[in-house]
Symmetry: C2
Subunit: 121 residues, 2 copies
């Protein structure tokens, strides 16, 4: 479980790391080389594709950062965790979701599916 | 989305159907032949293995039934939904979880990972 906690911390950190070299270092640490990511609005194939996807998410939401919410909750080679995207200016939550992942034997993410939470009323 | 809603209804119904023939009919409708299920306490491989797993869950919780809670929430070939296990005697919730699934092209479940929610305080 400590390894999974670190993995999810690094995953979140990669979304917040705008320096391309440091972001890629986190992505290489977190993801299997042939990993896949899929949510309702974004997709990435392989570390290269996921790196481009994360860069695009950063470009779409300047002045925002991702924060962990729930978990990580892991069993066998599976994990889930919650996140939210908050404005650095006023702390407002602009999006939130839950990610489900399948791990490789060496503790990297092989596949992640993201779901978005309905906005709070 | 109507298809996914029906799929999840049939999935929940299969857990509540104690007649073996009718339960298997639901399982054949819901699951791909080579499907897999994995949660922290149960696992099933293929329709036969999943049928045995559901029968074991029913034997472990007589007088209880599964009810849907959240969702289903689907995108691409992915779905998540919430459930709870309630006592038929007093309606008390004895367990709850979220299931995450990958669908086949013909709208059956190929793989489901279940996670259990922490009991309410």
């Amino acid at each position: 479980m400590p390894e999974v906690t670190t993995l999810v911390q690094d995953y979140i950190a990669s979304f917040n790391e705008s320096d391309p070299a440091r972001r890629r270092e986190l992505i290489d640490r977190v993801w299997a080389d042939d990993a896949t990511y899929l949510d309702p609005v974004m997709a990435g194939d392989g570390r290269d594709g996921i790196d481009r996807m994360v860069a695009a998410a950063q470009a779409q939401f300047p002045g925002h950062r991702f924060e962990p919410t729930l978990g990580p909750d892991a069993h066998h080679d599976r994990v889930r965790f919650g996140w939210r995207l908050v404005s650095e200016a006023d702390g407002a939550t602009v999006a939130a979701g839950t990610d489900f992942g399948v791990l490789t034997g060496d503790g990297r993410l092989r596949a992640v599916t993201g779901f978005l939470e309905a906005p709070a009323a």
